[in-house]
Amino acid sequence: MSAAFEAEGLVKRFGATTALDGVDLRAERGTVLGVLGPNGAGKTTAIRVLATLLRPDAGRAVVDGLEVGRDPVEVRRRIGLTGQYATVDEDLTGAENLVLFGRLLDLPAGEARARAARLLDRFGLADAGGRRASTYSGGMRRRLDLAASLVGSPSILFLDEPTTGLDPGRREELWQTIRSLADDGTTVLLTTQYLEEADALADEITVIDGGRVIAHDTPAGLKQQVGGQTVVVRPRDPDRAGAAAGVVARATGHDVAPPRGGVVTASVDDERAFSAVVRGLEDAGVAVTELALRLPGLDEVFFALTDGHRTTPREEP
């Protein structure tokens, strides 16, 4: 078997709620699988099953060739988990947290300290290592969390919405880190609510909703299925918004909504239309402060994938 992990037909119920209703997930070694879905889709439950924290009611999960239900302890030696909420001890310093996890992973004391220092350094926390985690900012806590998952040099990493609550700059940094981990050969499962994030990081994307897989594809394939990208133009001079709207309308062949707040937006069917917008703006001499091609939001993705028959989101425990 060449899959780093594989789940088949996972079912998990909590009382009357069905969190997972037959979910299949699979990632080849050294790849990044993005699991995209709204709150309550079953993303966290799926991760918790793979990370040995929950037993499924049906289906099977195999991690690094080991059956999760049969050999949880061996599975735990091979995985790293970063939960949606901080999974470090807030009363301990950053360094103490990492050393503790190293000790619990059976590293000798010296090696645990050395590895903690290396990880703090790598995640830009060397100066903050002696401070309690409760004093960390959201971004620092996220990085410490990710560092904590790497203490055991896991070959498989489960990241549950790792960038939730981060500002854009920090998010970009974390993306870089995740990419470098994948480049080093770590298999990553990453859940997210943003197509943009899955697109930036994942080799393949599984879209789940209401505990079921509703799509599985490469990012390019998925974007093709979904379409609905939007071009956004903000002229430097708000009075030129009308001129910009004209350019966008000609380039995209779409009606352009009247500019709002000096911003012109229009949907694009073909990425080439974006180049036409860029050239058109230059020719028309419209200087811009913002010019972007935006991926569709989660709502639009689901609308496209389910033809609007969106399963009602269920509460995730």
């Binding site: 060449s2 080849e28 070694r29 050294g30 790849t31 990370a51 040995t52 924290l53 302890v73 061996e74 735990r76 030696r77 091979r78 995985i79 988990l81 939960g83 909420y85 901080a86 999974t87 470090v88 001890d89 807030e90 009363d91 301990l92 103490e96 503790l100 996890f101 000790r103 619990l104 992973l105 059976d106 590293l107 290396r118 309690r132 904590a148 055991g152 040099s153 896991p154 070959s155 981990l181 080093d184 050969g185 770590t186 080799d203 393949e204």
Partner: protein, 276 residues
Amino acid sequence: MTTTATTTTTAPADHRVGPTPPRRWPLARHSLALARRNLTTTRRNPGELADAVILPVVFLVLFVYLFGGAVAGSTQEYLQYLFPGILVLTTVLTGQVATGLSIVQDMKKGVFDRFRSMPVPRASMLLGSVLADAVRYVIALAVLFGVGYALGFRVETGLLPALAACGLAIVLGFSLCWLTVLVAVLLRDEIMVSTVGFLLPFPLVFGTGMAAPVETMPGWLQAWAEVNPVSRAIEASQGLLLGGPVAGPVTATLLWSAAFLAVFGTAAVVAYRRVV
């Protein structure tokens, strides 16, 4: 994307070195590592020690000055009589109130998920918490002795018997605390656990000859005091601190403690593994 061989062999040195091989005595090593973590946490939140330290002293002062004159004719004589019982009360109360609560709080923290996703024996998470509380016992007893001596209490035997009395009380507190641990694991609710932990010591510690001679109590209470294991512990404590028969009550206390540990300790670990 499917080139398995290349991705797994090009791993750099620090990363992807594979899982660390398991070492021996995982339960003991992991319990100690987690106990150390609990101690650090306690050191940084010294307020958590307050109930364990203050409550026994409050009982001591309250009983001595409120009832001392009535029960024993003089507060000084009553202090001598009462102190060995308060010693046992201290460890029972400390174990009951603190341990269960810290476990419930832990189970609700995010870091708990990380522990559970690591190759750590489940029992060591409970054991680490319980072991860390040994420090609470020691601090609470030290404060109690300090206040007791300030009020005029004097050990009538010697240093070693007095230390033995403390050790015995700690053994009893340690074994009885597994009852609250069991409650904590089953209920997982801070308020319930602290209520149970606070109420449980009352029949156990007060249904004894700690505060008044058993002969003065109604028949049903005498019957309970007679079979109550904590009665033996208080008799042992009186013997060790003031002189008197020791061998019988000490043996009985140790046997009872072993039984509590075996029953409640096992039940707590089994329940815990089922829950998590």
